[in-house]
């Protein structure tokens, strides 16, 4: 099977300067640390993890909104890792992004029509009747009335703004869309509307999604496969059914156990995996397995040796020493 997008050893480090005046030194913050990821055409890959684990950075690095420090990105078979701004432009048609914050994602000084039209104009369209017709189509597609075109962002609710953001992302008819927590900032009732809209659009336009979220129930609803990220690394990736039914990494188990259930008394007593402590600093990640400081099943080897991502079942990959025992 050919991948739509494939990243190998993708790394993004930020130089943070620390220390006092004369002892100043650059410390590398490894936001994304050697991630291998393949995304199939037409699928929705859910990406989950705690705040600050590098989910958004990974999503944005994949479409070169953030320059990777290392590794390669293949999009549709072409290496896009080091294309310059000009060479990247035609590629950008096919990869777009939907943002979390519906207030910060729309320029307050532009009308909705100008906002949705801008990607078309950048890619050579003239701002004429044909372009306005595309805008009208996009508004219809995302379920906004035609009169929205002349309005400015401040006149819309959060959910409506998110629809404008989706219309802008889809105006160029992309194949791959990074959804960077598109519903986290919305009310629950509106969340469902936007998730359904994204699913309808996927079916209609044959889109491929990287769906970043920290809400596991939303991810469970929309994803085909789910990747779990911890401190800049992917620790488990599998089909949705497999990962929710039999999570193998202790971190995934803890995440799934933490999802609130409707009837708490139904949850099995005593089996619930709980996590103690906070996520360690990415400036100084733990040696060996990054999760060993919080893992309930920690073994001596975990402190010294970093587990690699291995296939444990068809399509199920885990990075944990527990799963390596014969």
């Amino acid at each position: 099977m050919t991948h739509l997008l494939s990243a190998a050893g993708l790394t993004k480090t930020y130089a943070i300067s620390g220390g006092l005046l004369l002892r100043r030194q650059a410390i590398a913050l490894r936001a994304v640390d050697g991630v291998d990821l393949n995304i199939m055409p037409g699928e929705t890959l859910g990406l989950v993890g705690e705040s600050g684990c590098g989910k958004s950075t990974l999503g944005r690095t994949l479409i070169r909104l953030i320059e990777p420090t290392g590794g390669t990105i293949l999009f549709d078979g072409d290496d896009i890792t080091s294309l310059d701004m000009k060479a990247m432009r035609p590629k950008r048609r096919a990869m777009q992004i939907i943002f979390q914050d519906p207030y910060g994602a729309l320029n307050p000084r532009m009308s909705v029509e100008d906002i949705i039209m801008e990607p078309l104009v950048i890619h050579g369209a003239r701002a004429d009747a044909a372009a306005r017709a595309v805008v009208a189509d996009m508004l219809r597609l995302v379920g906004l009335p035609q009169r929205a075109a002349s309005r400015f962002p401040h006149e819309f609710s959060g959910g409506q703004r998110q629809r404008v953001g989706i219309a802008r992302a889809l105006a160029l008819k992309p194949r791959f869309v990074v959804c960077d927590e598109p519903v986290s900032a919305l009310d629950v009732s509106v969340q469902a509307q936007i998730v359904n809209l994204l699913q309808d659009l996927q079916a209609e336009l044959g889109l491929t999604y990287l769906f970043i979220a920290h809400d596991l129930s939303v991810v469970k609803h929309i994803s085909d496969r789910v990747a779990v990220m911890y401190l800049g690394k992917i620790v488990e990736i599998a089909e949705k059914r497999a990962i929710y039914a039999s999570p193998q990494h202790p971190y995934t188990q803890a995440l799934i156990a933490a999802v609130p259930v409707l009837r708490p008394q139904d949850r099995g007593r005593g089996r619930r995996a709980r996590l103690a402590g906070d996520i360690p600093s990415a400036l100084n990640p733990p040696t060996g397995c990054r999760f060993h400081t919080r893992c309930p099943h920690v073994m001596p080897i975990c402190r010294t040796q970093e587990p690699q991502l291995r296939t444990t079942a068809a399509g199920h990959q885990v990075a944990c020493h527990l799963t390596e025992r014969p």
Binding site: R89, G104, H123, R151, H154, E155, Q160
Partner: protein
């Protein structure tokens, strides 16, 4: 797609009538008391400057020794000075010069302050070089630097404009830079990058329009500083050369006759006060309406 009911609800939520944001801002400005009183005060000066040839037809440089030291009255509204020149004419033509100098300094600041600030804030590789020069300029007290520059260039109206622009552009650049640094991280800028926008488009369409509010507020205060500094320079003999009337040199000449003819120094002083107060009130009003966050901080 969505259910019909949900769709109807969405339709209803998008307002039928709508207000362009620029019109809404204007409306709020013209309801703001500080802004209106500032506009009124500055409007007096502006009107005097524009209408000078009609309301002050007497040549402000014409000597008439037999009329010297006439107090304000029915013959000479603002009295006359030590050479018998009409102070009404001199103060009004001085207003015109003040307004010309103020608006030139503001225009130069708007262009070069925005340019330097936008380059430094957007292209971080230029930031260090540009801002260290900027800091060096800002390390001098404003008026001292202006005096130094006019002393080198020689006294004239044009040199006073140049000196004041050189003094104030670094301050304006810093304000633009700080807005640009904030705005370049906004998600709508990221969206433009994702759409393939070039640097020029991002700056022109997304960053600069949103950086205008603090800049406009700054420029309204700058107008007041420029008029005040110009008066200082010409008071010291470093502005426009006499007999061209400026508020500063009228006051410098009137200083010697403060006891016998106090109106010579007082009237341009009042004009200067009206200008500065008007512009400050105007700036406060603009700040409240355009940039409400600054109000909370003060």
């Amino acid at each position: 797609m969505n259910s019909a009911a949900a769709q109807l609800e969405l339709d209803a939520d998008v307002p039928e009538t709508h207000v362009h944001p620029a019109r809404a801002t204007l409306k709020r400005l013209f309801r703001h008391r500080l802004f209106l009183s500032g506009l009124g005060l500055f409007g007096i000066i502006l009107a005097a400057a524009v209408l000078a040839p009609w309301i002050a037809p007497t040549d402000p440089t014409k000597l008439a020794m037999r009329f010297k030291f006439r107090p304000p009255g029915s013959e000479f509204a603002f009295g006359t000075d030590n050479f018998g020149r009409s102070l009404w004419s001199r103060v009004i033509w001085g207003a015109q010069l003040s307004v010309i100098i103020g608006s030139s300094v503001v225009a130069l600041n708007a262009v070069f302050g925005t340019l330097i600030g936008a380059l430094a804030g957007y292209f971080r590789s230029l930031d260090n070089a540009l801002m260290r020069v900027n800091d060096a300029m800002m390390a001098f007290p404003a008026i001292l630097l202006a005096i130094g520059i006019t002393a080198v260039l020689g006294p004239s109206t044009l040199n006073a404009i140049l000196a004041l622009a050189i003094v104030y552009v670094p301050r304006t650049a810093r304000i633009v830079r700080s807005s640009v640094i904030v705005l370049r991280e906004m998600e709508y800028v990221q969206a433009a990058v994702a759409a393939g926008a070039g640097h020029w488009r991002i700056l022109r369409r997304h960053i600069l329009p949103n950086a205008m509010a603090p800049l406009i507020v700054q420029l309204s205060f700058l107008f007041a500083y420029a008029v005040l500094s110009e008066a200082t320079l010409s008071f010291l003999g470093l502005g426009a050369v006499p007999p061209t009337p400026t508020w500063g040199n009228i006051m410098a000449e009137g200083r010697q006759y403060m006891v016998e003819a106090p109106w010579i120094i007082t009237i341009p002083g009042i004009a200067l006060m009206i200008t500065v107060m008007g512009l400050n009130l105007l700036g406060d009003g603009l700040r409240d309406v355009l940039d409400p966050r600054l109000r909370i901080q003060q």
